[in-house]
Every structure is written in structure tokens, then in C-alpha cells.
Symmetry: C2
Subunit: 215 residues, 2 copies
């Protein structure tokens, strides 16, 4: 049942096509001018590039083409473009979790969660009308470290009696703590950022290894 | 110069196609269950519908197909899906203005502006890396009343020495005050919301009348 109620044609990408998307991402992310104070990487331009975002969406849509996905969920703001790209290829709607409640959302469901890195209590809200119980939801975001935000969205799903169908992350970052979610796809893995030498160590994410295991 | 540096093929929509998009929007927005306290309309589901958003993007891309557009600008959160849909058809990048500064944005430019309806001073920020001076920018959002937010984005453009190429709004709302921006396209116009009778009065926006004038 697609968003438009029409026929669902989901393009599958060849391994070579997926690899070229991952290689392009890695080449872009390796530029030292992406380094931000605190070891963050500037990725906003990539998330605003419609061609790249479309290809990323197609990669993740391919991975979930054989599964029932009813909704793509992300959290405002930076994951929205990827969520829409996946949704367009799977022909399902996008729901956007927010940090704050707005009058234009109508009644909302709100949960508290612990952010992975800072261990702070944070809030996320989602319009009550966003999802129906029993729907299978694919969660996506641009970046994941410990996975606190992902875990928050997972908890929010439960409030709607929905099921987690999968997690798709553009860039995952290596870290010392235990990751709060374990069943996810990533395209790129960020190993280390050296602010002094201005170097960024990246590798391919778990996309191919996980696909191999899932088959 | 598209985002991908490739050839720019911009699809133009026939008047009948545009009219069907506007009619679908009106039919959707007329449902009384969209009424929210304070006379707002629930539109979040429409902005999360990839097929509808894609068609809206194509309508606005058609309107600006003959002009030089370098960047699509919107403000977080609800205009992002439309901005990306336009951007994909015009093959140019999207920049997202935020209410708050985040470390992942790097250095930012911040301005204050007066919101149209509440007359409150608000802030908007945009990453310094988002735009180069001289670029021609198309601004878009899901909803416009007095136009305070649009006017804020217009002022932000000036800080980047960029030029306003146009404004594209999904739904404009009738109001008593003077509109702060005058050169814009809208697809639907909201005339009146009656919370007691639970009725919503809508008409076609200015898209066709403005296109006629611009030719």
C-alpha cells in the first residue's frame, strides 16, 4: 500500500552502483575542510545535494525492497532529505519527529530519551495522526554515534504500536561505548577525526557485510 | 551549473497537469478533520507524501524553468520536502535555514526578523558555507500568511550578497494586514476557517494569474 495507492515498483541497485555511491560519499567526506570544532564533520551540503541524496535513497530502498515498509521515520532536521528520497523509491509516506511541539502538528505523543553522547534527557514529539498501529517503520538519519536518537525513535514507535522494520544511517561513527541499536545499515563509517593533523579516517559502512548476512 | 554539474533538463508541466495538482491539494485540504485549534490546518501528512510533494516540486520547477536558479532556500522544518522536490527538478542544491545554531553547521550567519502574525522578534541562522555571493535563490515554504518568515529569508539573502530569484508557497492565507512580500507564487489560497461550523474555504492560489502576467 504505497502513499499514492498505486503500483509499487522498487528499483534495485547493482553492487557496483551502490559501491559508487559509497565511494562518492567517502571522497566527499574526506576533505579536511569538513572538520568542525569538537571533531564534527560538516555534511549539510551533501544532505542538500538532490542528486546524491536521491542515490542514497535508492541504495536504502534497494536494501528494503523485499520487506513490507509502511512508513519512513526520521528526526528533524538533517535526516529529512534522505527520508524523502527513500520514501519516494518505496512509495510510502515520511513522518518527521520533532524536538518541540507545534500547533500545526495537532495532538502529539511525546517521549523522553537519553541522548547517547551527552547522556542528557531529551524530548521527542510526533503528531498522533502520523502513524496507525501495526505499521512497519523504517527509521533513518544522517549520523549515528551511540544511537541514542535512534533508540528514542524506536521507543516512540512502541507508543504508536508500530514495528521497527529497519534502520538506515548515512554515516556511523566509531565510539567506545556500546551501541544502543544493533540492527542497522550504514554507508560510511567514521573512525577517527584528528583536529591537529586535520585528517579524517573513514571506511565503508556495514551495508555490504549486513546484506550478505541477511541473505 | 546544476548540483551535479551535469546537463539541466527541466520538465515543464502542462496547464492541465498543474491544475490537477492544485485540485488534489484543494480536495485534500478541504477535509474538516484538518482543522486545528486556533484556525490552523493540519498539512504535515501532505508534506510527507512523496508523490504529491514531487508533483508540487515539478509545478514550481516549471514556473522557474526559464530563469537562472542556483539555490533553493527554505526554513526548517516543514518546507524541506518541497524544497528538495523543486531542487531535484532544477538540479540545484537546497539550503535549510534554522531557528537555532548547531555545531554541525559550522560558522553561521544569524539575523533577527519580526514574525508576521505574532510581531515577535525571532532569529534565523544559516551556515556560512551554504551560499556564495551572487547566487540567485528561490525561496520556498509550505505556508505563508503575512510573509514575515519569507521576509526574514529575504534579509538573510542580502547578508550573503545573494539575489532573490522568486518565492514559491504551497498555501497562502488571506489576512487583514499588508503582505510583506509581493512577488510570489502560491498554489492554494486559504480564505477562511470556521471553527464553529468546521468549514474551510479555499481557492486556487495565484499560480496561473501570476504566470499569465509574467509572460
Amino acid at each position: 500500500p504505497g502513499a499514492a495507492g498505486g503500483v509499487k515498483y522498487i528499483p534495485k541497485m547493482s553492487e557496483a552502483e551502490v559501491r559508487s555511491v559509497i565511494d562518492d560519499l567517502k571522497a566527499e567526506l574526506e576533505h579536511s575542510d569538513r572538520l568542525l570544532p569538537g571533531g564534527y564533520l560538516f555534511m549539510t551540503d551533501l544532505l542538500g545535494n538532490p542528486d546524491l541524496v536521491n542515490r542514497v535513497g535508492k541504495v536504502f530502498a534497494s536494501a528494503f525492497a523485499d520487506q513490507q515498509i509502511d512508513v519512513i521515520m526520521t528526526v528533524a532536521t538533517k535526516g529529512i532529505s534522505i527520508a524523502h528520497a527513500i520514501a519516494r523509491h518505496l512509495n510510502v509516506p515520511v513522518v518527521v519527529v520533532r524536538r518541540d511541539s507545534k500547533v500545526t502538528e495537532g495532538s502529539t505523543v511525546s517521549i523522553n530519551y537519553v541522548s547517547g553522547s551527552s547522556r542528557r534527557i531529551q524530548t521527542m514529539v510526533l503528531s498522533k495522526r502520523s502513524m496507525k498501529s501495526g505499521q512497519r517503520v523504517l527509521i533513518t538519519d544522517d549520523f549515528m554515534k551511540v544511537g541514542g536518537t535512534m533508540n528514542g525513535m524506536k521507543n516512540l514507535l512502541e507508543e504508536f504500536d508500530c514495528q521497527l522494520a529497519g534502520i538506515a544511517v548515512l554515516v556511523e561513527a566509531e565510539h567506545a561505548d556500546e551501541t544502543l541499536v544493533d540492527d542497522y545499515y550504514s554507508l560510511v563509517k567514521l573512525h577517527e577525526v584528528n583536529e591537529k593533523d586535520r585528517t579524517i579516517a573513514l571506511s565503508e559502512g556495514n551495508y555490504f557485510s549486513k546484506r550478505g548476512n541477511d541473505k
